[in-house]
């Protein structure tokens, strides 16, 4: 990780972009979600009463990048429909099984946050969705972390 950062915001002309880091793939997914919600609102967590369990499973071959997009999309869905700002994320299980006979990938996670309160929270960006553009998860062998550049449409 760069100086212990979980993610950083990168300049991108038309939309918004983050670079997320993680010592493990699970941590990379958690920090990608932190980055996305930082773009939505820079408010700090104060009252994490709402807990959302998230379960994603696919019966076809997927890449870890696709699974990352599915995870962020699902969080956006709950954020927008339940009007919650999420701050903490815990990936409990992340499994990619892409064999020819029985492909099966699973993500089990929990996100905690609080109901949006316009008196307290400032919504900076309404994120439309994560894109696949230039999305590549790489392992940086020098810094020994996973990295992903993610562009969001706003």
């Amino acid at each position: 990780m760069v100086s212990g950062k979980n993610f950083e915001v990168i300049d991108y002309t038309s939309d918004v972009k983050i670079k997320a880091y993680g010592k493990t793939m699970e941590e990379l997914f958690e920090n990608s979600a932190r980055g996305m919600f930082f773009l939505i609102s820079e408010n700090d967590a104060s009252d994490l009463k709402v807990i959302q369990k998230i379960s994603i499973s696919t019966k076809h071959k997927v890449t870890c990048e696709e699974l990352l997009v599915f995870w962020l999309e699902r969080l956006l869905f709950y954020h927008e429909t339940k009007k919650i700002l999420y701050f903490n994320f815990k990936i409990n299980s992340l499994l990619l099984e892409n064999n020819d006979e029985n492909p099966c990938s699973v993500l089990e996670a929990e996100a905690s946050g609080e109901k949006i309160n316009m008196k307290k929270h400032e919504i900076l960006n309404h994120i439309k969705g994560p894109t696949y553009h230039d999305l590549k998860i790489i392992y940086n062998s020098k810094s020994k972390v996973f990295e992903a550049n993610i562009i969001f449409d706003v």
């Binding site: 002309t13 869905f77 429909t81 553009h133 999305l135």
Partner: protein, 483 residues
Amino acid sequence: MDEKNVIKTDDYKFEVVMDKEKGMNVPGIIFSNDLLMEKVLQEETINQVINVASLPGIVKASYAMPDIHYGYGFPIGGVAAFDMEDGIISPGGVGFDIACGVRILRTDFEFSDIKNKIAPLMENIFRNVPKGVGTKGRLKLSDREMKDIFLKGVLWTVKNNCGYEENLAHIEENGTFPDAVPDYVSMEALERGRDQLGSLGSGNHFVEIQKVCEIFDSKASEAMGIFENQILIMIHSGSRGLGHQICSDYLKVMQAASSKYNISLRDRQLACAPLGSPEGVKYFKAMGCAVNFAMANRECLSYWVIQEFEKMFSKSYRKMGIGLIYDISHNVAKVEKHSIDNKIKTLCVHRKGATRSFGPGHESVPDDYKSIGQPVIIPGDMGRYSYIMTGTKKAMSESMGSSCHGAGRLLSRSGAKRKINGSELKKELFSKKGIIVLANSMAGLAEEAPQAYKDVAEIVDIAENAGLSKKVAKLVPLGVIKG
């Protein structure tokens, strides 16, 4: 420019020469000038033009309008037409905000009639028009009502007392996109849109009260009922969470479809399917639902804005001469007829950050605009000006009947926030230009600062000089509401 094989073919047109080794099926054509072209080359936006040129069944060229800038998948300002038989459809060529667009309404007011009422009027509109996530929508719709909107578009608003029948003729497709099948929209998408009809959204979406400051074309302005110093209302919004989720859902479908149909992609955001395939048809018809929702959204928004005018001036909208000049979508794929090599062909034209610009006489142009061409609405930034233009016959042969859609960003959002303070910007716009700006987030406002955008006058001049659209009127903002 040489290394990219970009040739200037006339003062406002550059060609990216077709290169089979790069997989291009057609050349790229970029409408620009020397100065702006340098920026296009710096940002490597050309690669996005080339990527689009490599998609199967693309006809004539991968076009980029004068406000081209680096996006994802398609460049912003990208236009591409695909053959119905061997071409594709791509959600990445439409974007997340399906049918995002602009409408402009006229009034009988002159600036002097209402100048003391603009501030309270803006306050009332700000209070009563829902904006983004976290603000409560005014309508909570059932599944059945949502599906009805997906099918009927603006007609639904007319039947449900939040839209005007007389506006229908001044909306593309008369307010109802015919190819819409609600069954192809996921429950997640429906859920995201459920309380968002008649809401603005955030980012670059806005409601503005504007003043006509200059008329360039008296015949066209007369046909639209526009005169100098007149008060107009401009609204920019789209299909909200519904469209965003439909795009996300079908990007997944298209990732698999691209492999299934052996379409090699230079950017996964360009994932697509043949137009006639089940995946292609389903996306098109789900997209149609979002188009109807977006048009209905803008109608609802203007209905509520008009209500505030009615309350403020104690007059009906008819008495105030309020009516829709035109409503356009600038992120959309449409099936259109175009003349290709002297033969009429039906094509699927993707416009991502580009406006349809049909010329005089075109069958899709409303009768009262038939002699002037379709109104083309070009919003600028909140501190300078916007334009109304008209479509041209030349656009039909030059750009698949398309023109620009706005100024295009100059600074990234984070770059703008570093340089500009939202609260100071708000004060400065009022003290120096008398523009009243209301926004929920001052940081969000900084991202939308005039300095973050190119000068739309330059973009509009290129569009006019290239023959893509013709200037009718220049408008300045008086009051701005940002989501």
